[in-house]
């Protein structure tokens, strides 16, 4: 069967991004850990991770990631930084240099797992302690101290980290569930805070968060939420009603539908067709057909595609954005028993 995705071109694209990003991406400087995660999961989904990144390179990458882990006792936050823009920890003791955040920690753990690491060097107590300190009274989470940002993206990160490390003591599940239920909107969709517009990205963070906590039943109407998600499909998936489809929602909405049990209710060929239209001739995928690619849209488009081609691509866990083989390996990790 002819390949339906330009696998070689996309693998090259991810390798390129991991090696060097152009100056135009300076705004990603604090989120390189997440870009790394996306490139790695993109490669893993294409089945090209080991080919593209030899063992030595993978080991070097693992070292770089651990170099972003905040040393014990430093700063007000435990976990990982979003990038190396402040340099090695042994040369900078000032607080901003040691400021991590929940998203970076989540991305770091996923990246380590994708690279075959066993997480044995993760400071589990610090990570879980940080999660605990960032949960708000309302049940949601801030990403780091010193900001009023607090929304389901970070609830999701907290839940994913807790799942990976096998330690939920940092998460008050009742409070987080209550917050998410409060984000159910009049149209069945989910959003960032009560009363805000239903949004595919927050849908994912809420649904995946609930699923990881084992609390999907808390949804007031699973059917209405599934309906909202399915109705985002017009060819590809849109993130909000009456907006143009965007390839990243192939994951945010597509994965939510998988979690809600709606896989068989999707018009698969239309999704596949749209994702293919978003493939860039230089490798990678762009949010809309004919635009420039970026690692986020590339990775999420490819994972979204894989849901509809199970014979050709490895199964990617919709809740954790990790290959099923990696999720299975979690059970064997010694860190979970600490």
């Amino acid at each position: 069967m002819a390949a339906e995705l330009a696998i070689n071109a996309h693998a090259r694209y991810f390798k390129h991004c991991l090696t060097m990003l152009p100056a135009e991406t300076t705004s990603l400087d604090a989120t390189r850990m997440t870009i790394a995660q996306l490139c790695l999961v993109g490669l893993a989904t294409l089945g090209r991770l080991e080919d593209t990144l030899p063992e030595k390179r993978r080991a070097e990458m693992v070292e770089w990631i651990y170099a972003q882990q905040i040393p014990n006792g430093r700063g007000g936050y435990g976990g990982f930084r979003g990038g190396s823009l402040f340099g090695p920890h042994d040369r900078c003791e000032y607080e901003p240099a040691n400021s991590g955040n929940l998203a970076a920690t989540y991305s770091a753990l996923c990246s380590l797992l994708l690279l075959g690491d066993d997480l044995s060097r993760v400071d589990k107590q610090a990570v879980v302690g940080a999660i605990r300190s960032l949960q708000q009274e309302s049940g949601t989470f801030a990403p780091h101290p010193g900001t009023t940002e607090r929304d389901p993206r970070f609830i999701y990160c907290a839940c994913a980290i807790s799942t990976i490390l096998g330690d939920w003591s940092g998460v008050d599940k009742d409070a987080a569930t209550r917050y998410i239920v409060g984000c159910c909107n009049y149209d069945g969709g989910l959003t960032q805070m009560p009363f805000q517009e239903s949004h595919g990205g927050h849908l994912y963070c809420c649904i995946a968060g609930l699923s990881l906590m084992g609390r999907l039943d808390a949804l007031p109407s699973r059917q209405r939420t599934l309906q909202w998600a399915l109705f985002r499909q017009s060819g590809g998936y849109q993130g909000r009603a009456n907006k143009a489809p965007d390839v990243c929602y192939s994951f945010w909405v597509g994965a939510s539908i998988e979690i809600l049990g709606g896989h068989d209710l999707v018009d698969s060929s239309a999704v596949v067709h749209f994702i293919q239209q978003c493939e860039s001739t230089i490798g990678g995928l762009s949010k809309w057909p004919g635009y420039l690619p970026d690692p986020l849209h590339a990775a999420l488009g490819i994972v979204g595609f894989s849901f509809h081609r199970p014979e050709q691509f490895p199964h990617i866990s919709p809740e954790l954005l990790l290959p099923a083989s990696v999720v299975d390996r979690l059970q064997t990790l010694e860190i979970r028993r600490r």
């Binding site: 901003p96 240099a97 909107n185």
Partner: protein, 343 residues
């Protein structure tokens, strides 16, 4: 990259050549061996970051540090550590908050989708005029206050630029709820809906403005429900194949006035569907038929179990129609939905 209105760009010469920075030893970037996703920074950004690291390491709180944080944020608005540092500097230096708001306004013109700047703005406004103080005044006086007038104008401009900017709507909700500016919000929503009846963000804001922060279990009085039905149907009439007003009115009533679904909404949409001028558009839009399924299910719920069958059968028949004719894209969903009717 320069942004008009950001007055901290006074001297474009490299920092190493500026007299004001002679006493500072920049800290060079050190990504460590084999970094992942290293960025090929411009020389300018690389230099700025060297000096920013130096002032952060020294815990410096000065006007030049503030200016530098601004330049770094302009180049990299996602630099969350720089935002935290800037916020502390603004407080420590007792900077003029109005000027800082000007700076944020200029930044948002270039980076309207950045999360951090909206949160930075929120913190500034709360400091400038704490809600506790504001709420001691009646709403019309609150609205006349220059701080709030300016914020409403600012978020209004952001929405003029992009009427669906998620962050702008989110900020507006924060402003209206925090300062209880409810009385003026419906009029704003109506203006936005008039500009684009398909703007789902505006319809969502209508729900926000009608509920005024009350819980999902609130029951709305019959007159209000009737008025919202009339409003929605008027806009459905304008463009029947439009998700937003349908989702709004069905969602609003299901939660807050379920009886109005069949008492108010049903007769009006049936009348529209029977009107020769609108019949073709109404009968071909999935939203009309989908609303009927919701309405009949709700009607059935209000009846004793023995009497529900006719309505549920009607709902199932409509699911068939949707699956086979009106909404073939979602035909698998409608077949599934049929099995779940009345469950």
């Amino acid at each position: 990259m320069r942004i008009d209105g950001c007055s901290d760009i006074e001297d474009p010469a490299p920092l190493a050549q500026q007299a004001a920075w002679q006493d500072v030893e920049p800290i060079a970037q050190d990504d460590g061996p084999s970094p992942i996703c290293p960025i090929a920074y411009t020389d300018e950004y690389r230099e700025m970051m060297g000096y920013l690291r130096a002032v952060m390491a020294a815990g410096e709180e000065s006007a030049r540090a503030l200016a530098l944080s601004g330049r770094v944020i302009q180049a990299n608005p996602g630099h969350y550590t720089a935002w935290v540092y800037r916020k502390r500097l603004v407080e420590a230096l007792a900077s003029d908050i109005g000027a800082e708001l000007d700076w944020v306004s200029a930044l948002s013109a270039k980076h309207p989708k950045n999360y951090q700047l909206w949160h930075h703005r929120e913190a500034l406004v709360e400091r400038l005029w704490p809600a506790r103080a504001a709420l001691a005044l009646p709403e019309d006086q609150r609205l006349a206050n220059p701080v709030l007038r300016r914020e409403l104008q600012f978020v209004g401009s952001a929405l003029d630029e992009d009427a669906k900017n998620f962050h702008a709507w989110s900020y507006r909700q924060w402003l209206v709820a925090r300062y209880e500016l409810w009385a003026q919000e419906l009029a704003f929503v109506d203006t936005m809906i008039s500009q684009d009846v398909r703007n789902n963000s505006a319809w969502n804001q209508r729900y926000f403005a009608v509920l005024r922060g009350r819980p999902a279990t609130t029951q709305l009085d019959a007159a209000l429900a009737r008025a919202e039905v009339a409003y929605a149907v008027e806009h459905i009439q304008f463009a029947p194949n439009n998700d937003s007003p349908w989702a709004y009115v069905v969602g609003l009533l299901l939660r807050h006035a379920p009886a109005a679904l069949h008492e108010e909404l049903l007769p009006r949409i049936r009348a529209l569907a029977a009107d020769p001028g609108f019949a073709p558009a109404m009968s071909s839009t999935p939203f009309y038929w989908s609303a009927l399924v919701d309405i009949h299910e709700q009607q059935a719920r209000a009846l004793p179990p023995a009497e529900r069958a006719p309505l549920l059968d009607e709902a199932r028949a409509i699911c068939d129609r949707l699956a086979t004719q009106v909404d073939i894209t979602h035909n698998r969903y409608w077949r599934f939905r049929k099995t779940a009717v009345g469950a």
